[in-house]
């Protein structure tokens, strides 16, 4: 098996990297793929709580890199999904404990037994970011439809290209359809036009994401959640399937609007 390494990153913090990593991994695992996610945000461990696995941590990423345990021992298996694993970040160390070549080595070992290796990158453009993209076969940039997040995403897309890890793909997260409709939020099309990269998903703003995080259950496992559906669609697109983008009730196109005018009540 030669698994594929996908790094999820952003310029700005808090845009949804950890949420996306957990949910895409859960989505892939729920379709029978072997998926392992690595929390590369050393010192600010979070992927464990989002996945609800925080009580089962014994060893972490730095323990593996420094040889205190075998790779297997640091991999926590999710009991809900037989083929979902987490390698948690160290909480008491800083980013310099791991180097880009450590990450490449680790990823190569994981590739042999997993279909997908997902790396949850820290925000910013420093060591943690370089560690995260070093082993990547594919880089996914996540942003919110908001001025500072889009600006920082553009910067990161440029850096990913400069590191020859491009072309990156884009997830637009926390899209609020009502605000787009009112003209008070950038539409997905606007963000795409500005950033000029390939779109791999649009995830709506959804309270269920917070509820899921409270419980430690990714929304991708909740068949009724809209955000969960969006993450499952991303999982399928990653596997090479063509899945139409969901209708988030946002900005109906020009022709839609015309046909609404001509078809009263329709």
């Amino acid at each position: 098996m030669v698994g594929s390494v996908i790094t999820i990153t952003s310029g700005k913090g808090g845009v949804g990297k950890t949420t996306a990593t957990a949910n895409i991994a859960a989505a892939l695992a729920s379709t029978g793929k072997k998926a392992v996610c690595i929390d590369a945000d050393i010192g600010l461990r979070n992927l464990d709580v989002v996945l609800g696995l925080e009580n089962r941590i014994v060893y972490d990423l730095v323990d593996v890199v420094e040889g205190r345990c075998r790779l297997r021992q640091a991999m926590i298996r999710d009991k809900r999904l037989p083929e979902l694993y987490l390698i948690p970040a160290a909480q008491t160390r800083d980013k310099s404990a791991v180097s880009p070549s450590d990450m490449v080595k680790l990823a190569n070992e994981l590739r042999e037994e997993h279909d997908y290796i997902l790396i949850d990158s820290p925000a910013g453009i420093e060591r943690g970011f370089r560690n995260s993209i070093a082993p990547a076969d594919r880089v996914i940039i996540i942003t919110n439809p908001e001025v500072s997040a889009v600006r920082d995403a553009d910067r990161i897309i440029g850096l990913v290209e400069a590191e020859e890890k491009g072309p990156a793909q884009l997830i637009i997260n926390r899209l609020n359809a009502g605000m787009v409709e009112r003209g008070d939020m950038l539409a997905a099309e606007d963000v795409l036009e500005l950033l000029a990269i390939e779109l791999i998903g649009v995830v709506p703003e959804d309270e269920e994401v917070i509820v899921g995080t409270n419980r430690g259950t990714p929304v991708a496992l909740d068949s009724k959640s809209k955000a969960g559906q969006a993450f499952r669609n991303i999982g399928q697109r990653i596997q090479g399937e063509t899945v139409p983008f969901m209708d988030l009730g946002q900005e109906s196109g020009f022709f839609d609007r015309i046909s609404k005018l001509m078809r009263p009540g329709g």
Binding site: R151, D154, I157, L186, A196, E251
Partner: protein
């Protein structure tokens, strides 16, 4: 056209316009004043050979996907003196 079918010009359009300007600037990473210097020097060089309508010269950075190109529009005097 946008306004015809009920879309108001909300804050999103200023977000888009502002981002467009900011991204052009971030991507090109040109120090301030470079565009003006380029404009003046181009006019100077070209004027050595052909008469230029100086006040109408335009230099800008155009976007082509994620790539940028410098586009100069340099209108010439057309009073027949150059022929």
């Amino acid at each position: 056209m946008q306004n015809l079918f009920g879309r108001k010009r909300g804050s999103a359009s200023s977000a888009k316009d502002r981002l467009q300007m900011v991204l052009i600037h971030d991507r090109s990473n040109l120090p301030p004043g470079v565009m003006d210097a380029l404009r003046d020097e181009l006019i100077e060089v070209i004027s050595r050979h052909v008469k230029v309508r100086k006040s109408d010269v335009q230099i800008e950075i155009a976007q082509d996907g994620r790539k940028q190109r410098l586009v100069a529009d340099i209108p010439l005097e057309t009073d027949g003196q150059n022929r």
